[in-house]
Symmetry: D2
Subunit: 280 residues, 4 copies
């Protein structure tokens, strides 16, 4: 049976990224508290295509994912990228894995247990020189109280749910839980899945004592990230689903890249073998 994809191409144009997009797949990810966690990811996997070939072989992406789904983590990304390159005869590879992630969280006073949901992503690339670039991303729902509204009003202050998106590059393995907690400490107040009446009183008062603009939230997060020498690059944005408008307030800060944030593939293998144990 003829392999059309492998036919020569004469347009003289290499393709940057070719592969599969929006594949939904069950995966297992690392969990700081429990070791591992089952979730359902949306996955994009791409390689480059040299100018001499007409097409890539799409089924191989899903075959590889099917093998790797039992542990999709920062620790395994370098290996997955490496195998994508070899199985697809490519010089570069790129993966994006996005998934809901849950942490058990106790209500602040009653300590009622519930699971909070976050949207997380791992994005990895490996280039022709063997450089691996990893980005870890978390989207964290938060509560924010408006400082202006509190100051100028006789009573109350408008507040709302917001969403902080934080992406980082790093030197050593970092738990998504650590990223999430860093963000939550910089909000007016964190949000919960279960709050009893005593807890509702607590979070209302905590937020009201701690009013913050989106500008304050991204500045406070950026300040902490800059003080952490494990973080080599970051971009953070805060979006408030304003309670007085039908649009959002938004602010973002992106770091100047402190150091390359790209490490040789061998280094990543090493960190993958040791990083989790030492950093968790």
């Amino acid at each position: 049976m003829i392999d059309i994809q492998s036919l020569p191409d004469h347009r003289n144009l290499p393709i940057d990224k070719v592969g599969i997009k929006n594949l939904r797949y069950p995966i297992t990810v690392l969990d700081r508290a429990k070791g591992s966690q089952h979730t359902v990811a949306t996955i994009n996997m791409y390689v480059d295509l040299p100018d001499k070939y007409k097409g890539t072989h799409m089924s191989r992406f899903v075959e590889m994912l099917h093998l790797f789904r039992q542990e999709v983590s920062l620790k395994k990304f370098a290996m997955i990228l490496d195998q994508m390159k070899s199985h697809l005869n490519a010089e570069s590879a790129h993966i994006e894995v996005t998934f809901p992630y849950f942490m058990e969280k106790l209500a602040p006073i009653s300590e009622a247990p519930g699971l909070m949901d976050y949207t997380c992503a791992i994005i990895g690339s490996s280039d022709a020189a063997g450089n691996v670039d990893l980005i870890s991303e978390v989207v964290v729902p938060i509560s924010s109280v408006c400082p202006c509204s509190k100051e100028i009003s006789e009573g109350g202050a408008h507040n709302q749910r917001g969403e902080v998106r934080l992406s980082i590059r790093f030197n050593r393995f970092i738990w998504m839980e650590d990223m999430i907690e860093l963000v939550e400490r910089c909000a007016s107040c964190e949000v919960y899945s279960i709050l009893k009446r005593v807890d509702e009183k607590c979070v209302t008062e905590r937020g009201f004592e701690n009013p913050k603009f989106v500008e304050d939230i991204v500045r406070d997060i950026a300040t902490r990230l800059k003080a952490d020498d494990n973080i080599t690059w970051f971009t953070v944005s805060a979006e408030n689903f304003e309670s007085i408008h039908n649009h959002s307030a938004y602010a973002s800060i992106t770091s100047v890249e402190r150091l390359k944030g790209k490490v040789l593939i061998q280094d990543v293998y090493d960190f993958c073998e040791t990083g989790g144990e030492t950093s968790g």
Copy 2:
């Protein structure tokens, strides 16, 4: 060229609805203040298919819409439904038209002008006996302040953006603007596209003085609807995008149908010719 759709079918099964879905089209709708308004709709158009035919003729739906797009309104729906039935040799017809709709709104103190966006829909059906059933729907963003949080907390009260969805059947033409204003009057406070500092103070205080659960909002709306003898049926829901949770609080009330809410097509034609003038 053979007409496959018109071939006989032997499965002995009529189809309730067949047609086109999720067609995006520019339309013009009635505007209480300006006469008419340009917007972009997402449209579903269906007819029934008798058991004897294999398929319907999909292109005719778009042809009809192309003709009618200059005025898509409650007033024209009976005629559009009528023509769908005749052009497609069908016994029943059904349309759903959903679109963003804008109203100019002045900030409460500074009177700065801005346009507020609402999502509106008109849903119409015509059955084999010629009964026309029309539903008008608005989705209204609102602000809600939690009565419990205000009562139990030393300062502030959690509040958030919410969304009220109201669908009605009615005897006489009714402006979507009237439906929107009815909903806004039942929120803790309405929302705006532009608020200067004096306005922000006003809406913060107004909301804080007027705390409401989702339960209160749907009850207050339902009370007003029940008192209006033009409304023959309604369903109203309120959803709060909670500022202390990552999920929504929700409440809904659906009326017992007071009277049929279905009128003969001739009656609708009559109301279409006269209703706008008398009810606007």
Copy 3:
């Protein structure tokens, strides 16, 4: 601390549904092949609220879900609904649980294994008289080839991905896998996550030999459902994401309710204890 929710209300209006909406939570569901499957659900939980109370107690919904998350299934729904009614002092209860669900599926010729994703839902209500109403729903991606295009064209035929949504009421426990397979057998061809070249040839030819309109697909599914005396009610729709248009073709059939499809809660408990074993 005052319980505002329990204060009396004087508007004299009971609320049909009040509770939480769009809560994302990890759950475990029944799996015909493996016993159980981990997934992530989006959940709505509502009860009614008598006219005499101002509000419901939202945190109790999440507390209950937290307990039940280890097995969310048709078999447990009657019990969950029952407990919602008792913990919230309500007369009626309603739950909607929607989640991605995966089945292992072998490519038709190469037998390469992959996981296919479906969106499934379980919807349950329990009324004041203790009647439990359960609906099981699956959304199945399919491939459809246009019979008209095939007939009139010199070569090829337009085809596309489509989506069939099937909801049923039933007498005895039914696996979602059975519903999915019933739908897939009525498409031009089913879809897969992994197809090697030999498989691609197979599915292309199978689809081309089996052209179907959306009308054909819903009729073929409805015919099978009507012949199954376990199915007491159904609604089925097919939507084609047309490859020649930027909108969808759509058809739907809803059954006349054959028998009530509502059983006393004791019956459901009985079926829950025995149904899975006998029907799987």
Copy 4:
């Protein structure tokens, strides 16, 4: 009334982007055939915030948009960016305007008229040195037929709706219509809102005679863009909503930036005054 936003900030951190996000607003855009077109946009507007200030003034963004909404176009973007900088005392400004855009299109044989919808965007930035950077983007639905499937199968070939996203930087004004038509010429076949039977035969056969992978589509578009010296930079991606899978096939090519693609604001004013007339 105190202006909290203007208070000094001591974190010593400037903010890259602060402003409003996801504001829905009716706008008027340029239309090659009719002069102008009404549509509804989703808009993000940001400026930078120097480290010395606590916050920006969000209401001013909406005030400016309210003034400019009558003509939102490439031609006016430099002026809008300029005014954002002066009204908000900012060094840089950024806008993203996304909207559905319609072109009248005749069916290929019957010449039945219909409106095709495209999603378009204009993205503009102005930096501290007064450099203006403009990007024009179109998302074009297309039809693609698989070359491999056609070659290996006895009859037919799988095909599907796809979506091409093209973003460009340029020297001289360019119509979005030109970008859309360039993309459509590189698909297996373009898509239409209305097709009669003779047209359906035509598009089926045209596509079948012209099979293309996503790789072919992006290469053919990139080849045309590289030959056009008005285009200074581009990124193009093609995504097929595969009819045999429940995920997409994807390919993208991004140009090496040929020349800066950023012009001084005075140049843009000049081009704005003259460009439309000469380039349309």
